[in-house]
């Protein structure tokens, strides 16, 4: 019997998801033995036409990491969707847009203007801009189009499963891959794999009190106790709105959660959930005082939607003169 076929691909991502797969250590050899790895750009021959030549739905499992930022990313999403039986949005970028998704707070034009003209180290008096098709003396060369808006994989093609995390933690990846290799029955399409069904707070382990917050602190301002809940100490921690699964690594290192495992179970919008959680712990009835307390959180969108702006109800910043 032929082996099941596995593909891994990276779109707009940092490569951390790929390192996370390698961090399952010797188990990577089991994966390599169980599957026929038909496509892994960094490991096997990476050519569109090789994938195009495969019969449709011939890849049993495709782990797709990275968001959709360029025309090349989008073309690969469509191609791999067509060729794969099960397509997994692997990691925060593919699932929610992740930190690069904060690009949706800006525009392509502003980005190009800064990067290629206004940034202080750039010398470009002629205003040269990278262009998708360029004539050089010897012929034509191309680069992909840089899109205005970052999209998640599921906003471009239908997706069966989601694996959260930036990056997904190696033990979670190992568990998912073992289950698949042992022939475990997969949950209904649309499910989240490789994570918990609670919130990050449930993994943190620090004792929590009834919260009555009179002010917030930024973490450079105070040296918080390692024994107490960070939110109790006035440091915004995304734990209450974030899905469990990472093991609360950041909080255990005395840094607040920033929400990389995405929205908690049964929560549609991580940012709104966090705003609601904070609203219930602010200890004031005085509107002026409430405003003052909220002003201690200097960047609400970049804090509450650090990892999920493209998949959230906000999706992107709107500009009055521009439609997206």
């Amino acid at each position: 019997m032929s082996k099941p076929k596995l593909a891994l691909y990276w779109a707009a991502s940092c490569g951390g998801c790929e390192i996370a797969v390698l961090d399952i250590e010797e188990k990577i050899l089991d994966v390599a033995g169980f599957f026929d790895i038909v496509f892994w750009p960094c490991a096997t021959d990476f050519k569109y036409k090789d994938v195009e030549a495969m019969p449709d739905a011939s890849i049993d499992l495709c782990l797709f990491n990275g968001a959709i930022r360029t025309s090349e990313n989008e073309a690969m999403a469509h191609l791999l969707r067509r060729k794969s039986k099960v397509l997994v949005a692997f990691g925060s970028c593919a699932m929610d847009g992740c930190i690069p998704g904060l690009g949706n707070l800006t525009t392509r034009q502003d980005t190009f203007q800064w990067v290629y003209s206004d940034s202080p180290s750039t010398g470009n008096p002629a205003g040269v801009r990278p262009t998708t098709q360029v004539s050089v003396p010897e012929g034509e060369i191309e680069i992909p189009e840089f899109y205005e808006t970052v999209r998640t994989l599921a906003q471009v093609v239908p997706v069966e499963y989601f694996v959260p995390g930036c990056p997904p933690q190696a033990p979670q990846i190992a568990t998912v891959m073992s289950a698949i290799m042992q022939g475990a029955k997969l949950p209904p399409p649309g499910s989240v794999l490789g994570a918990g069904e609670k919130t990050c707070c449930d993994e943190c382990g620090k004792p929590r009190k009834e919260k009555h917050l009179k002010r917030f602190y930024r973490y450079w301002e105070i040296e918080p106790s390692r024994e107490e809940c960070l939110l109790d100490q006035g440091i915004v921690c995304m734990g209450p709105a974030t899905r469990s699964g990472c093991g609360a690594l950041c909080v255990k290192a005395n840094m607040p959660c920033r929400g990389c495992y995405g929205a908690a179970p049964n929560v549609q919008d991580q940012g709104i959930k966090m705003i609601s959680a904070l609203a219930s712990v602010i200890d004031s009835q005085d509107p002026n005082e409430i405003n003052w307390i909220l002003d201690q959180i200097p960047d609400p969108v970049g804090t509450f939607y650090r990892f999920t702006l493209p998949s959230s109800m906000l999706r992107r910043r709107q500009f009055p003169t521009k439609s997206f």
């Binding site: 940092c14 490569g15 996370a20 390698l22 180290s121 012929g139």
Partner: protein, 487 residues
């Protein structure tokens, strides 16, 4: 005109593509190294609180998040004009040294190594990490995996997370190291140093004892004379974490030694329409196009350039090998691109020895690891040597510490021009009229960019597989004349 496209080249940080044009005679007319990607961190970070940057900019690269984490934290220190306690600086450097040891190891064994250990003309299916293990023994392969595991462990003990560490904050680090954690780390660093010695032996046996390899390293095809850049300490020894940036000319004479905050006086970036990545160059010398020599402002920033600008290594075993390298290759500076592999394992040994020194420093378990900033934030530059080159983070904030401007010059970016030139030179030297473009020729062209350390993440991906490269020869009408693919 014929056009050869290598798309994508692999084992590069992110995505990359090479286009080689042949003229009617079948000789190389020109060559373009394109980076088809832009992610826009500099603009979308505007408005973010500056202290979040060490946790945001890690996502520029999941292969070397430590470099961004630390450069960013240093920029935050500068923005808040705060000096971290000595123990915090040492913890950051410990994390950074462990990371360097892991990163350089994987490049040497999984990426650069196969070309030498297995051979540049070996069948592609063997020219990978598995081929290396076959050649040098299963035990060696186990050592590489073990080294990597231990390096990741040290990063997670100090940084909280192995991929995308979180603990560096303005004015220090978020948590001290416990005595138990320190004891564990000491054991790991012993392993690093032993591994460094083992790697020197492998390099000596496999590369230096093979005259053909030494000739290849010294050959003109892989040689270009450009300026060198790297960070040095107060004794002009190589340093990854802190110091002044020194630039020497192709003859080894110092052009400038500057504090990273003055980088704008030294560097400028050139823009081309056919790639999203810019081309930094030395302002004082000027952009003269993709040419080498003293009159051209092109510089490189790699393990080799770092050794070229320094007077030596700060640790004994690395220093010994440093002296041996320059003695063997005919003195300083060295401009043979393939010698970068040798320089890389010298840096690996320095990182291992430095990690061990720091782990043994009693201060490393001090609980005083933070200085709370008091100054009004404004502007700052943070700089480290990333494995792939000097990394600059430059932030400007408002009085609340919210970013108003962000400028980044990233390790690999420094080398965009020299990589382009190295590939071109290799292509000119290796593709000859009427001769078949063999697999070995393709691989030898790839070796020109691989020396710059495309990316260890991709390198480790070669574990199950092969090295892809496709060359298409197209005539002036875009018709496919010949296609050759290996892997």
């Amino acid at each position: 005109m014929q056009k050869i496209t290598i798309d994508p080249i692999t084992r590069l940080e992110g995505h990359g593509k090479i286009v080689i044009f042949l003229n009617e005679e079948g000789e190389v007319a020109n060559c373009y190294f394109q980076v088809p990607e832009l992610r826009g961190f500099e603009t979308f970070c505007v408005g973010r609180p500056v202290e979040e940057m060490p946790r945001i900019t890690t996502r520029i690269c999941g292969v070397c998040p430590e470099a961004h984490h630390i450069a960013s934290a240093k920029a935050c220190d500068a923005v808040y004009r705060v000096e971290p306690p000595s123990a915090a600086r040492k913890l950051r450097e410990l994390l950074y040294s462990a990371f360097f040891a892991g990163d350089h190891t994987l490049h040497f064994y999984a990426l650069g190594g196969p070309d030498f250990v297995v051979g540049p003309d070996a069948p592609p299916a063997e020219r990978n990490i598995l081929g290396v293990i076959k050649k040098v023994g299963l035990e060696a392969g186990g050592k590489v995996i073990e080294l990597r595991k231990r390096a990741q462990r040290v990063v997670s003990l100090v940084g909280g997370k192995a991929i995308h560490p979180v603990t560096a904050v303005p004015g220090g680090v978020a948590k001290p190291l416990s005595a138990e954690e320190r004891d564990e780390i000491i054991e790991h660093t012993k392993y690093f140093v032993e591994f460094g010695k083992f790697t020197f032996a492998v390099f000596n046996d496999v590369v230096l004892k093979n005259r053909a390899y030494v000739d290849m390293i010294l050959s003109d095809t892989y040689t270009q004379r450009v300026y060198s850049m790297g960070t040095v300490d107060q004794n002009n020894k190589v340093n990854f974490y802190d110091g002044l940036v020194r630039v020497v000319d192709p003859d080894g004479e110092e052009l400038v030694k500057f504090h990273p905050r003055d980088y704008l006086q030294v560097l400028e970036e050139h823009v081309e329409p056919w790639t999203y990545l810019k081309f930094p160059f030395l302002k004082r010398v000027g952009w003269k196009g993709f040419v080498d020599g003293k009159e051209s402002g092109v510089y490189f920033a790699t393990p080799l350039s770092r050794l070229n600008v320094a007077d030596g290594m700060a640790t004994p075993l690395a220093q010994e090998e440093y002296e041996r390298m320059y003695a063997t290759l005919g003195g300083k500076p060295v401009h043979h691109t393939l010698a970068t592999h040798w320089a890389r394992i010298i840096e690996l040994m320095y990182a291992a020895e430095r990690a061990a020194e720091l782990a043994h420093d009693e201060e490393i378990i001090s609980t005083h690891v933070r200085t709370i900033p008091t100054a009004t934030p404004s502007e700052g530059v943070g700089c480290v040597e990333a494995p792939r080159g000097t990394l600059y983070h430059h932030y400007v904030t408002d009085e609340r510490g919210l970013l108003t401007k962000v400028n980044l010059i990233v390790g690999t970016t420094n080398n965009h021009a020299p990589i382009t030139m190295s590939i071109r030179k290799a292509a000119f030297g290796l593709i000859q009229r009427g001769k078949e473009i063999s697999d070995g020729v393709l691989n030898r062209i790839e070796m020109a960019f691989r020396a710059y350390d495309p990316c260890f993440g991709c390198a480790t991906h070669s574990l199950p597989g092969k090295m892809p490269l496709e060359v298409q020869v197209l005539d002036s009408h875009g018709n496919l004349l010949a296609s050759r693919k290996r892997g």
